[in-house]
Symmetry: none
DNA sequence: ATGACAGGTTCACGGCCAGGAAACAGTCAG
DNA sequence: CTGACTGTTTCCTGGCCGTGAACCTGTCAT
């Protein structure tokens, strides 16, 4: 996702929209003071500003986006899954599974719920789900997504930046 | 909590410590470019800067701290424990122990009360609790939580920020 | 002090079971 | 036919949980 540049206070209403949509933005403050931020996805500079400074602020926003924003992976009706500029095509069953995971992104989806999504009219054998999760995992590994197991509870989808463990300091 | 002013790059190592302890900081950039931020609790200005601008940035940091501070440790019904943007899945027994600790967050929970929470119908051997506390400790260490012992009284849950207040100075 | 002791920490082990993984076979489209 | 998709069987890894035991460290009585 891109960082949007907004002139302030000239484009005040535009900023409102970006806040509502949780889109990261850099305010170019032309006069007066910047507004109190409503979220973590906003920063500001006084213009004119050095290019390097603006770039640094934009990088900072992208970093925060990784930490907070729900940079949603997107699955279209043809089973093409896009994330962070890359994509893979998913076969029907796996596409339905992924769709269920995306619906509750970040939250745990039970095996039962997954099975219902994957096979709306009757699930096959018990292990079919395991195997499909395995294959789905391998497929999406290359585009920065991962399916984590929550033992005896279900699975949850995780994006690359939103790792589960801290770096061992 | 106060926002700490750090000269950059002169006080580089000081910044490291603040990052580790998750203390909000404003970098006073004297030369070159600011570092890539490691979290949401950092901002920067080029010095010299107008007082009003610095105040605006400090207010922004406090705002973000508020957003994060509200983010208390949270344990969902599937045993997923979330804190400061990270998460771990807890197995059943440890999830119940953590739940008891969270109920009285910050206060001491006796070993007996913990045992009752962990094993509602009859506790196993005495040592089971110790072992589970140990394993729980290791698990939550990675997401910025810690269980502290109060000898012959019980245990209490502590966040990284909390620890700072306790040991600070 | 010294030694016994209680409270805590940590490790190693075994049983149990959920989930992971490989290998194979059937179906269908190009 | 070939290759992609799907489902099944089968085996095995690894997580969870309790136990026993070693060890460490304050505390207390002598």
């Amino acid at each position: 996702m891109e960082v949007v540049l907004v002139r302030w206070p000239a484009e005040r209403t535009r900023r409102e929209l970006l806040v509502r949509d949780e889109i990261p933005r850099l305010l170019l403050v032309e006069d007066g003071l910047p507004p109190a931020p409503d979220d973590c996805l906003e920063d500001w500079v006084r213009v004119p500003a050095a290019d390097s400074d603006m770039a640094a602020r934009i990088d900072g926003l992208k970093m925060r986006l990784g930490l907070h924003g729900r940079e949603a992976a997107d699955l279209d009706e043809n089973g093409v899954l896009r994330f962070s500029g890359r994509w893979v095509a998913l076969p029907p069953v796996e596409a339905r599974l992924m769709s269920a995971l995306l619906d509750r992104q970040g939250a745990v989806v039970s095996r039962e719920a997954l099975a219902r999504s994957g096979w709306p009219d009757g699930a096959p054998g018990r292990n079919a789900l395991d195997v499909h999760v395995l294959r789905l995992r391998r497929r999406i590994d290359g585009i920065g997504l991962a399916i984590r197991t929550v033992r005896s509870r279900g699975y949850l989808l995780e994006t690359e930046v939103h790792r589960q463990q801290a770096s061992g300091a």
